[in-house]
C-alpha cells in the first residue's frame, strides 16, 4: 500500500487552549473517495429546531445514545435495565432498542407531543433522571432526538442501506512534543454510497491515557512521549489511529546507524527510528545462550556447553546453536506443552463415568501425539487439522474395529502407538463444564475473544451476537456417544462391567480390563454434515418458530453447503486459506510473545480491532512468511531467534527504558512454572543426570516441561501451580501466570522440596562431597555460577564466594550456602 507523508497545519477550534500545531499526516491512497457528497456532521445539521431532515435510528439516534452513555453497563445497557428502561449493551440490537424506546404507555417517545417524550425530558433534567444531565435543552442532541420523534420515531427499515466501514482521518498522528493536538474526522460509509461525517456520533477511546487523550470532538492531545492508539467506534466499525510522540530527537535522519541484518530487524528499527527509541546493545554470548536455551528448550545450558560456546570463535555460532537446540528432545517436549496449553489438554476429558479411569492416559496420549509432530516439524496447519477434524472412529471403520483399536492403546504391555493416529479426538471431548466450543476454537486458533458476543455486541470489536450465533452453528453437530449403543452394552455385560458406571468399582475394572489387553467399549466423537444440520434446523424452525442460524465464518461468508460429512471441515478449510485474517497471525503473534514476553498484539490472545499491533508491518511480514513456509514452526522460531532484535541486551538506555512494546531491548521475565522447577533440578543434579535431562527422551518426557503437565500427584505439582502453570480450564493466555508472589519466594528460600533437591542423594553437592579428588574452591565456584547464572563469576564475586567458603566451618556447608544463594537470586529466576 503506497503512502504519502504530508506536512500540514491544524488549527484547533478551541481558542487559546490549544496551540497551532504541526502534525505529520499519513494519507493512504487506499481510501478511495466513493460516489456521493460527504454529508456534514449532525452537530451542524441539527443546530436549531425546525430542521427538515429526519434522523435515522441506526445511523444517528442509537449512536447518539451510545455516545451519551445511555446504553452502557452502568445505565440502561444493564441486563436488568435501569428505571424500567433497557437498551442493548453497546447498542447493536436495533429492533429491540426501537421496541424499548417506543413501547406503548411508557411515554419514552410521545408521538402526539414529542417535546413531552421522556427521552428528551429526562436527560435534560426536565424530569428527575438518576443518570443526571446528558445534554442541554435546545442543543443539537436535543433537536436530533426531537426531530426523530416528530418524524414518527421510525425503526430500521429492512431494505435500508448497510453499514460498510468507518474511515478515520488522519490514520496516523505523529506529534513533535507533548501538548500538541490534532483533530480526527470520522466518516461512515454505507452500502448505498452515502458518506457521512459522524465525528460527533462516535465513541472515542485512548489505549493509553497516560500518553494521549482524546475528547468527544475527536481532538487528540499528546500527553507524554511514546506511542499508542486512539480508537473510534461507530455502528460495528472500530477504527484505530496510531499516535506517536517521539521519545528523543534521534528520529529519521538523526537516528544512529543501526545494523539490520534480518527483515525483522529492518521492520523493528523502522518503527524505532520513527519513535526516537535507540535499541539496546546486542547481549553477550552467555546471555544469548541462556536466553535462547530457556526459550527454545525450556532448559538451562550445561556448564560444559557454556564453556564451549564462549570459547567458540566462529561468526555463525549463534545461528548454529539455534539449529542445534531446535533438534533436541527438549524442544519438542516444551513446545508440545505450550501447544497443550493452547488446546486445553487436561485430564478433564469426557466421558464422565465409565472411561473416566483412563483420563490421565488420554491426556498423555494427546501430549505424545503433539510431541511427535513437533519433533517431526509437521506444519502447524496440519497439526491443527488433526485436532480440529479429530475423530474417534475413522470413516469406514466398524464399531468393533474401533473398540479394538482404542483398547490397544491402553494395553499395559506393548500398547499401540497412539501418536501414530492421524487425528486426536480429545479437543472435542473436553470436560462438561468448559467454555463453549466456539469460544475455545476462536481463542485457540484465531486469537479472538468472543465471550462478549455471546450476549451482546463486543464493545471493542466488530463481533455481534448474530456473528456469534452464526459461528456457533458449525459446532452444533459435534457430540460424544457410543457408535453402537446396544453393542457397547452387551460388551459391558460380557466383561462384567455391570456396576454403576460412575462407581469407582466400574472405573477400576474398566482400567484393569483395558490394561490387560481386553477389548472394552469406547465412546466416540460424532459429527454430522452441515447439510443435515441445516435441514434439521429448518424443520424445527417450521415447527417451533424462531430463527435459523446459518453457519457463518467470522467476518466471512455464510456456508450453506459443506460438501463434507463433517460440519467442522469448512472451518478447517477456512483456517488454512492464505488470506485467513487470524489463523497465521494468531500463532505468529503468540510465538513472538513467547520469545519477547510481549506480543506484537498484546495481550497476544486479544486480536480485536481496537487493540492493533504495535508494529503492523512486522506482524504482516511474519504471518505472510509463516504461510509461505507452510506453517513451519521451526522456521518461525529460527526467524525470530536469529534476529538481532531477539538478541538485544536487557540493559536499558535513556531512550528505551520505558519502552515495552517496540522490542528495543530484552524484557526480563520470570521463568515459566515448569521451567523454574526443572531449572532447580538441573542446577543441583550430578553431571551425568544433568546430561540426561537434555538428551534422554524418556527422562525429558517425564520432566515438568514434558508430559507431567497438569498432574496433581507429581513432585512438581505444588511448585508448578504455585508458579502459575495453567490448569488449562479457561480460554485466556493469562491462565499461565508469570507474576511473582510471596509464596513463590518462600518456596525458593525455605521449602523442604528445594532444600531436599540441594542435598538429595544423587545431587551435585553430594557428588562433590564424596569425590576422592580435591575440588579447588575456585573451580567449584565457577561451576556453581555456570549451573545457575549460566556465566562465569566476575573476579570480585569469585573472591567474595571464596571468602564465604573459607569462613564457614566445613566446606560442604559453605558450598550449600552459596548454591542456595545462587538459586535464590533474581538472576537465576529470571530470563534476561
Amino acid at each position: 500500500m503506497a503512502t504519502n507523508i504530508q506536512q500540514f497545519s491544524v488549527v484547533d477550534a478551541a481558542k487559546d487552549m490549544f496551540r497551532i500545531t504541526t502534525v505529520y499526516l499519513v494519507l493512504s491512497f487506499a481510501v478511495s473517495v466513493e460516489a456521493g457528497e460527504l454529508v456534514p456532521t449532525v452537530s451542524h445539521r441539527f443546530t436549531g429546531p425546525g430542521v427538515e431532515e429526519v434522523p435515522d435510528l441506526q445511523r444517528h439516534v442509537l449512536p447518539l445514545l451510545g455516545r451519551l452513555g445511555c446504553n452502557s453497563r452502568e445505565c440502561h445497557g444493564s441486563f436488568q435495565g435501569r428505571g424500567g428502561f433497557r437498551l442493548s449493551l453497546f447498542g447493536y440490537d436495533f429492533a429491540a432498542d426501537h421496541a424499548s424506546l417506543t413501547k406503548d404507555g411508557e411515554g419514552r417517545v410521545n408521538l402526539d407531543d414529542p417535546a413531552a417524550s421522556l427521552i428528551l425530558r429526562k436527560p435534560t433534567l426536565g424530569e428527575d433522571h438518576e443518570g443526571g444531565e446528558r445534554f442541554k435543552p435546545d442543543s443539537w442532541e436535543h433537536h436530533l432526538l426531537h426531530r426523530w420523534i416528530e418524524g414518527g420515531a421510525i425503526g430500521t427499515r429492512p431494505d435500508g442501506a448497510e453499514f460498510v466501514k468507518l474511515q478515520v482521518e488522519p490514520q496516523e498522528i505523529v506529534f513533535a512534543t507533548p501538548g500538541e493536538t490534532a483533530v480526527l474526522t470520522a466518516i461512515a460509509h454505507w452500502s448505498d454510497g452515502t458518506r457521512e461525517d459522524v465525528t460527533d456520533l462516535c465513541r472515542f477511546r485512548s489505549n493509553d491515557e497516560s500518553l494521549a487523550a482524546i475528547n468527544g470532538a475527536g481532538v487528540v492531545t499528546a500527553l507524554a512521549r511514546g506511542d499508542t492508539h486512539v480508537v473510534a467506534f461507530y455502528d460495528n466499525g472500530v477504527t484505530p489511529v496510531a499516535v506517536l510522540t517521539p521519545v528523543s530527537d534521534s528520529t529519521g535522519k538523526n537516528f544512529p546507524p543501526t545494523p539490520t541484518p534480518t527483515k525483522i530487524d529492518e521492520l523493528v528499527v523502522q518503527k524505532l527510528s520513527k519513535a526516537g527509541i535507540i535499541p539496546a546493545d546486542v547481549c553477550t554470548d552467555a546471555e544469548f545462550l541462556r536466553r535462547v536455551s530457556l526459550d527454545v528448550t525450556g532448559t538451562l545450558p550445561t556448564p560444559k556447553e557454556i564453556t564451549t560456546f564462549l570459547a567458540d570463535e566462529s561468526v555463525d555460532k549463534r545461528a548454529a546453536k539455534i539449529e542445534e537446540l531446535l533438534n533436541r528432545p527438549t524442544y519438542s517436549a516444551w513446545w508440545a506443552t505450550r501447544l497443550g496449553d493452547l488446546l486445553g489438554n487436561s485430564e478433564q476429558n469426557l466421558p464422565v463415568g465409565g472411561e473416566q479411569g483412563v483420563r490421565r492416559q488420554k491426556s498423555e496420549q494427546w501430549y505424545d501425539w503433539l510431541r511427535r509432530r513437533v519433533e517431526q516439524n509437521v506444519g502447524y496447519d496440519e497439526i491443527v487439522e488433526g485436532v480440529v477434524l479429530g475423530r474417534g472412529r475413522a470413516a469406514g471403520q466398524s464399531v468393533g474395529d474401533y473398540f479394538a483399536e482404542m483398547s490397544a492403546y491402553f494395553r499395559s504391555e506393548e500398547g499401540a502407538d497412539f501418536a501414530a493416529r492421524e487425528t486426536v479426538p480429545y479437543f472435542w471431548t473436553r470436560g462438561r463444564f468448559t467454555p463453549p466450543q466456539p469460544l475455545r476454537f476462536s481463542y485457540a486458533f484465531l486469537g479472538i475473544r468472543l465471550e462478549c458476543a455471546q450476549c451482546h455486541k463486543h464493545p471493542y470489536d466488530q463481533w455481534t451476537k448474530d456473528d456469534y450465533e452464526g459461528f456457533q452453528a458449525f459446532f452444533d453437530g459435534v457430540g460424544n456417544s457410543y457408535g453402537d449403543r446396544r453393542g457397547a452394552e452387551e460388551m459391558k455385560k460380557t466383561l462384567g462391567l455391570t456396576a454403576d458406571q460412575d462407581s469407582s468399582g466400574y472405573k477400576k475394572l474398566f482400567v484393569d480390563l483395558a490394561a490387560s489387553g481386553k477389548v472394552v467399549p469406547w465412546q466416540e466423537v460424532t459429527v454430522s454434515s452441515l447439510e443435515k444440520r441445516l435441514e434439521n434446523a429448518r424443520r424445527s424452525q417450521q415447527k417451533t418458530g424462531g430463527r435459523v442460524f446459518t453457519p457463518k465464518l467470522l467476518g466471512g461468508e455464510e456456508v450453506t453447503a459443506g460438501g463434507s460429512e463433517d460440519c467442522r471441515a469448512p472451518l478447517m478449510d477456512w483456517l488454512r486459506q492464505p488470506d485467513n485474517p487470524y489463523f497465521a497471525r494468531a500463532m505468529v503473534n503468540r510465538t513472538w510473545a513467547h520469545f519477547f514476553g510481549v506480543g506484537i498484539v498484546d495481550p497476544p490472545d486479544d486480536m480485536n480491532l481496537a487493540n492493533p499491533p504495535s508494529n503492523e508491518p512486522l506482524l504482516n511480514y511474519l504471518a505472510e512468511q509463516f504461510v509461505a513456509h507452510d506453517f513451519d514452526l521451526k522456521w518461525l522460531c529460527r526467524e525470530i531467534t536469529t534476529s538481532r532484535t531477539y538478541q538485544l541486551s536487557w540493559k536499558p538506555n535513556a531512550t528505551n527504558e520505558r519502552d515495552e512494546r517496540n522490542f528495543s531491548r530484552a524484557l526480563v521475565r520470570r521463568l515459566p512454572a515448569e521451567v523454574v522447577y526443572d531449572a532447580i533440578v538441573h542446577a543441583t543434579a550430578t553431571e551425568t543426570d544433568m546430561q540426561s535431562l537434555h538428551t534422554d527422551v524418556q527422562t525429558v518426557r517425564s520432566r515438568a516441561i514434558g508430559v507431567s503437565s497438569g498432574y496433581d500427584n507429581r513432585d512438581s505439582a505444588y511448585v508448578t501451580k504455585l508458579f502459575g502453570k495453567p490448569a488449562r480450564e479457561g480460554i485466556c493466555d493469562c491462565e499461565r501466570s508469570n507474576e511473582p508472589s510471596l509464596l513463590q519466594t518462600i518456596y525458593l528460600r525455605n521449602d523442604t522440596e528445594v532444600l531436599k533437591l540441594l542435598d538429595r542423594k544423587e545431587s551435585w553437592l553430594q557428588q562433590v562431597a564424596q569425590s576422592q579428588e580435591d575440588v579447588a574452591a575456585d573451580d567449584w565456584i565457577r561451576a556453581a555460577y555456570l549451573r545457575t547464572f549460566s556465566r562465569p563469576p566476575s573476579d570480585p564475586k569469585l573472591v567474595g564466594a571464596r571468602q564465604h567458603l573459607e569462613q564457614v566451618d566445613d566446606a560442604r556447608t559453605g558450598r550449600r550456602d552459596l548454591l542456595w544463594a545462587l538459586l535464590n537470586s533474581k538472576e537465576f529466576l529470571l530470563n534476561h
Binding site: 463444564f433 468448559t434 467454555p435 463453549p436 469460544l439 475473544r449 465471550e451 514476553g597 510481549v598 498484546d602 495481550p603 536487557w650 540493559k651 536499558p652 515495552e660 524484557l667 526480563v668 521475565r669 520470570r670 501451580k721 504455585l722 508458579f723 502459575g724 480450564e729 479457561g730 480460554i731 485466556c732 493469562c734 501466570s737 508469570n738 507474576e739 511473582p740 508472589s741 510471596l742 509464596l743 513463590q744 519466594t745 518462600i746 518456596y747 528460600r749 525455605n750 521449602d751 523442604t752 522440596e753 532444600l755 564475586k797 567474595g800 564466594a801 550456602d817 552459596l818 542456595w820 544463594a821 545462587l822 535464590n824 537470586s825 533474581k826 538472576e827 529466576l829 529470571l830 534476561h832
Partner: protein, 433 residues
C-alpha cells in the same frame, strides 16, 4: 509481561540489611501493623479475620441443625433433637457441646440453590458465585486476603490442610498456603516453607540471606524502574521477615498450647485443625480455612454421623467458638461453616441420604454476627425453604460485610471484564447486621 501494579516514584529502595535485621527482630510488630491497617482503611467492620469451615461432601441439614422431629420416620431419621442454651433453638442430640454454646453462633436454614454436583456446588459455596465456564471466581480467602492488608511476617491466607478455594482471576498472588496435613496433639507442627528445616538456625539463615544479597546484584540498575524486579525485592524482604521472625513459626506450632486447651479441641484432625486456625487468627492471619470432608453419606448416614462426623464437628467447632471467645477474638473473627448442599429428606435404602441443594444449612458466628439466632426455615419435610429463601450469594455478601468488604465492589479480570465480588448478593439483616 508481568501484569503487576507498578509502584510509582522511587520504587523500592535497595534492601538495607541492617534495617531488615531490625524489622525481623520486632521493629514492625503486629500491634503496630494492625494500628496502621486500621488507620489506613479498615472500614467500620467488626471482624478483622475469618475462619471458613468447609464440610465437604454436603452435610445433612436434617441430621444436624435443621431437625424435623414431627416429620414421618422416613424423613425424620434416627436422631432426636436437644435443647440448647438458647430457648427454642434445637439441634441434633449428637451436638451437645455446640448446644451448650448456641448463643455464640446463628443457624441459617432454608438456603437454597440448584447445583446438585459436588464439583460445581463446591465452587459455588466457596466463592459465593454461581460457577460459569468461562471465568474462575476467586475463593473467599483470596478476596479477603486481597482486601484486608496483612502483617509482613505472616501468610495471609492459610488452608488447613487444603482447600477448594482458588485465586481465580485474582492471580497467583492470592493463592493459599496449604499446610497439607493437620497437627497432632503434643507434636510440634510446622508447615513447608515457614519453619527452618534441618536444624538451620535463624543466624545461619540470616547468613545465607546476606550471601544472597552479595550475589544477586545484576539487576540493580532496574530497581525502581521495573515492576517485576521491585516486586521480587519486596517479596524477598517479606519472605525473610516471615521465615526469620518467630511469629509465624510459633503461630503454626500448636504444641505450644497447653494440654488442656489442645484436648478440648479433640484428638482428631478436625479439632486440631480448628486449634491451628484459632492460633493463626490470634497471631494476625486474615483468613484460615479448615476442611473437614466425609459428609457425602449416600449410605450409612446415621452410623457415620453418630460415630464420627457429628462428635468431631461438635467438639472442634465448640472449642473453636469458646476459645476465641475466651481470648477476646470472637468479636473480631467471623466464622462461616458450610458444605455444598443439604441431603435428600427421604432416606434411601442404604440408610443414606443423597444430594439435595434445594435446602441446606450454614452457620455464621462472631465478627458482629448476632449469636443464638435461627434465620430462615425449611418446610415441614425439609425439602425447600418454608417462606423466605436465602441464596449462597446472600450468605457470601453477609460474610464479606462483616469484614468490611463491599460485595458489590468490582474487579477487572485479566481480560478487562468487570466482575463484582458477589453478583446478586444482599446482606441478611436478621443476623443483627
Amino acid at each position: 509481561m508481568a501484569v503487576y501494579p507498578t509502584r510509582n516514584g522511587a520504587g523500592i529502595k535497595r534492601r538495607d540489611f541492617t534495617r531488615i535485621g531490625a524489622l525481623g527482630a520486632g521493629g514492625l510488630t503486629l500491634g503496630n501493623y494492625l494500628r496502621l491497617a486500621e488507620a489506613a482503611e479498615v472500614k467500620a467492620a467488626k471482624a478483622k479475620s475469618a475462619i471458613f469451615v468447609w464440610l465437604g461432601g454436603g452435610p445433612s441439614h436434617l441430621d444436624t441443625f435443621d431437625m424435623k422431629p414431627d416429620a414421618p420416620a422416613e424423613i425424620r431419621g434416627e436422631f432426636k433433637t436437644i435443647a440448647t442454651n438458647v430457648p427454642g433453638m434445637n439441634i441434633c442430640e449428637h451436638l451437645p457441646k455446640l448446644a451448650a454454646c448456641a448463643d455464640k453462633f446463628s443457624i441459617l436454614r432454608g438456603i437454597t440453590h440448584n447445583i446438585a454436583g459436588h464439583e460445581l456446588g463446591t465452587v459455588y459455596l466457596n466463592t459465593g458465585n454461581r460457577p460459569v465456564p468461562s471465568l474462575e471466581y476467586p475463593g473467599y480467602g483470596a478476596v479477603v486476603s486481597k482486601e484486608l492488608p496483612g502483617a509482613n511476617d505472616l501468610p495471609h491466607f492459610v488452608a488447613i490442610p487444603s482447600t477448594p478455594q482458588k485465586a481465580g482471576y485474582l492471580g497467583v498472588r492470592s493463592v493459599p498456603l496449604q499446610t497439607n496435613s493437620a497437627p497432632k496433639i503434643g507434636v510440634p507442627f510446622s508447615v513447608r516453607g515457614i519453619a527452618l528445616e534441618d536444624g538451620l538456625t535463624v543466624e545461619q539463615f540470616t547468613g545465607r540471606q546476606r550471601l544472597l544479597d552479595k550475589v544477586d546484584t545484576a539487576f540493580r540498575e532496574l530497581e525502581g524502574k521495573n515492576a517485576l524486579i521491585d516486586g521480587l525485592d519486596r517479596f524477598d524482604q517479606q519472605a525473610y521477615d516471615l521465615i526469620s521472625s518467630p511469629t509465624a513459626r510459633e503461630a503454626f506450632d500448636t504444641s505450644r498450647e497447653s494440654a488442656d486447651v489442645a484436648q478440648s479441641f479433640g484428638a482428631h484432625n478436625f479439632g486440631q485443625s480448628c486449634l491451628l486456625a484459632m492460633r493463626l487468627v490470634e497471631a494476625g492471619v486474615r483468613f484460615a480455612t479448615v476442611s473437614f470432608s466425609g459428609w457425602d453419606t449416600h449410605s450409612g448416614n446415621f452410623k457415620k454421623s453418630r460415630d464420627d462426623l457429628l462428635p468431631q464437628l461438635d467438639q472442634g467447632l465448640a472449642a473453636l467458638l469458646r476459645t476465641l471467645d475466651v481470648r477476646g477474638l470472637l468479636a473480631t473473627t467471623t466464622i462461616y461453616v458450610t458444605g455444598e448442599f443439604g441431603r435428600t429428606p427421604k432416606i434411601n435404602p442404604q440408610a443414606g441420604r443423597d444430594h439435595w441443594p434445594r435446602a441446606m444449612i450454614s452457620l455464621l458466628a462472631g465478627g458482629g454476627v448476632a449469636g443464638g439466632r435461627v434465620v430462615g426455615a425449611s418446610d415441614d419435610r425439609g425439602e425447600g425453604p418454608a417462606h423466605e429463601q436465602f441464596t449462597p450469594e446472600q450468605v457470601a455478601a453477609t460474610f464479606y460485610h462483616t469484614l468490611g468488604i463491599d460485595h458489590r465492589k468490582e474487579y477487572h479480570t485479566a481480560t478487562g471484564r468487570p466482575v463484582m465480588i458477589v453478583r446478586d448478593g444482599a446482606i441478611i439483616k436478621q443476623l443483627g447486621l
